[in-house]
């Protein structure tokens, strides 16, 4: 007799085996393989950022978010407390004080990093969030059902939700302006307004090359690390700064996308329909054996009864 506990144990082991078998193959052939080699990205050189917040203004204007007059950006008091992007701000600048009076404070621009292998896209059950092969992580409000799994999944805690909007709430996050960059060959709104070209838009591979060039040319000016080159499997948005950005509000993350493990297990199980086949095959074997045994027991019982009858 197979108990419920035995069944769960067995099926768990089967799934585990299937997952392990498929780990290597799936991890390398994830959604990253669909990416275009000429995909675009943005490099923020935080040593050039002065915290003028013009990017916040231009972003709000571009994306029909609320914004005040241009001079309202001069209000530096907002920089005193760390903020996070929300439903009305796709990007914010946070200021982190200088370690010594001789240095400058570091202004850190925060927005969607447009991961190469995004956890939000992986978590989205309806495909409303998608990784464009050219770089941006795009969002389609028509597909979105508002489950907000993306908000939980994002390692940078970027997607925000229009909680105030009762009827047609949307997930809100930086778009990397594909309507400007991919369609019109323009720069993203933030990059265009940036007075010091601290925000550079271009091909990701060229930006990476440029970032490393700057790090090696001015080792005195930069912390020798390009954030986003490897973090969470790489991001389209890259950061360089004079100190580790992980000391300035940017999370310290492993080189593997959080989606890699879950996708490995999920895709592994269902690869070539092997998982379901295995489970249902196992089930059928179990059912067959249990019915066989019951039938045999029934026959044995009948034989015994027959004998007893004869003797009786």
């Amino acid at each position: 007799m197979v108990t419920r506990r035995d069944f769960l144990k067995l099926s768990g082991a089967a799934a585990g085996t299937a997952a392990l078998a498929a780990t290597g193959a799936v991890a390398s052939s994830g959604s990253t393989s669909k990416l275009d080699p000429a995909r675009v990205g943005v490099l923020t050189d935080l040593t050039l950022c002065i915290g003028c917040r013009r990017c916040e203004w231009a972003c709000a204007q571009q994306n029909q978010l609320p914004y005040g007059p241009l001079e309202s950006c001069d209000d530096q008091s907002l920089l005193a407390n760390a903020r996070r992007p929300d439903a009305e701000h796709y990007t914010v600048i946070n200021r982190y004080p200088a370690p010594t009076w001789r240095e400058q404070p570091l202004d850190v621009k925060v927005q969607c990093m447009h991961c190469e292998h995004p956890a939000c896209v992986s978590a989205c059950i309806v495909g409303a969030l998608e990784k464009n092969p050219m770089g941006p992580v795009t969002y389609d409000p028509w597909k979105c059902i508002g489950c907000r799994y993306c908000m939980v999944a994002c390692p940078f805690q970027i997607p925000a939700y229009e909680y105030h909007n009762a009827l047609t709430p949307k997930v809100m996050k930086c778009t990397m302006c594909p309507e400007r960059t991919l369609e019109k060959q323009q720069l993203p709104a933030c990059a265009e307004i940036c007075p010091r070209e601290a925000i550079l838009f271009g091909r990701r591979d060229e930006l990476l090359e440029l970032a490393h060039e700057r790090l090696s040319q001015h080792p005195d000016r930069y912390h020798p690390e390009v954030y986003g080159e490897h973090e969470v499997g790489g991001t389209s948005w890259l950061l360089i700064a004079d100190r580790p950005v992980t000391e300035c509000g940017i999370p310290e993350l492993s080189d593997q996308s959080p989606a890699a493990l879950t996708e490995t297990i999920q895709h592994g199980i269902f690869r070539g329909f092997s998982g379901p086949l295995m489970i249902f095959g196992l089930l059928s074997v179990l059912m067959k054996s249990s019915t066989d045994r019951r039938r045999r027991e029934d026959w044995d019982g009948e034989d015994q009864r027959d004998g007893e009858d004869k003797h009786g």
Partner: protein, 396 residues
Amino acid sequence: MLNLKRALVALTCLAAMTAAVAMAGPAQVMDPGHAKPGATKKAGKSAATGPDCSACHSCAAPTHANPCLQSCQRHGAQFKGQHGSSEGPEIVIIDQLANLYGPVVFAHKLHAQMSDMTGGCTNCHHYSPATGAVPPCRQCHEPTRAASDLRQPALKGAYHRQCINCHLDWNHDNACGFCHEQAADRKGADPKASAAHDPTDIVGTRHPLIKAKPTYTYKTTEPTGPMVTFHHEDHVEKFGLRCVDCHRGDTCASCHDTGSGKEKRALDHVTTCGACHAERNCAFCHSGDSKPQFDHRLSTGWSLEPYHARIACSTCHGEPQAFRTPSRQCTSCHIHWAEGSFDHKLTGLKLDDNHSELECANCHLEMNFAAKPQCTDCHDEAMFPAKLPGSRVPRR
């Protein structure tokens, strides 16, 4: 392997920079493949055997098809022209990009003088051929930013990287309005209008706050009165003089150390102080001892307390350059203070019906408003403070 390659590239760049900055004659052609730490040090010293390719070319064998030119080098490496700070224009109006903001009125000469104290023209003009003329920024830096060129900033980026580098060091101030005027404010305004300020006004232009001492004491050679006390704070705060009213013709070097020591400004006190104090004699400034701050009561016998101390000197005396002495009659300034129309409430006392009928001089004997009227002047019994000729109201 990748690291090795990166290190080699870095070394080559370093070699190129060293050679270019030193300008100590042509260096030997560097082969990136064979560059060694030892070789880079010798590069600048090597004898004049040929032109220094690495100053301009990044590869060992540049061809016409592939010149592999380096982007403009900074730090004066290619500044060949010889210019003094006085040669440049007084003011440059930067208006090629005016869009969100109006044109920037850039005090070129002022900045040139400031640069004299550090790196000279090359602080900003990092590229200038030997032919002499300094090329405009826009010759290399495109006015419109192309996504393709990542290494060379466009005109806007070039300007801002240039300016803000120093401005951040000097005052940590990134307010755009420090240089820019909002485009909307400037509709119909002539950009040259605000440029037409006094060019000799060094301290009158935008300058971080200068902390002057409130009082300066000078020891002069004047035999009768060697001490001159100058109350700087009084002249600025009380008398409302602008910096340029006295510091006309000052240069940056008048205050800042240029390396060869400060350029001591010889104060022509006859023209500077005499502009206002022309009719005074020497003893007005020169005395045997230090002088106290200006006190209106001691100097003129007219105490400004309490009401007149609140107003600026110029309200009664006009601008410092056109000083006038008003009459001591209240009505010479308070023209609406006529008999019967004066609102006594202003003094903090609202007169009751009995007293409001009276004429001013009935209580303020001989129209002496400085002295407080006494009840006993009219009344036999002492009434104050038990009784007042009205009720107290808050003073305006």
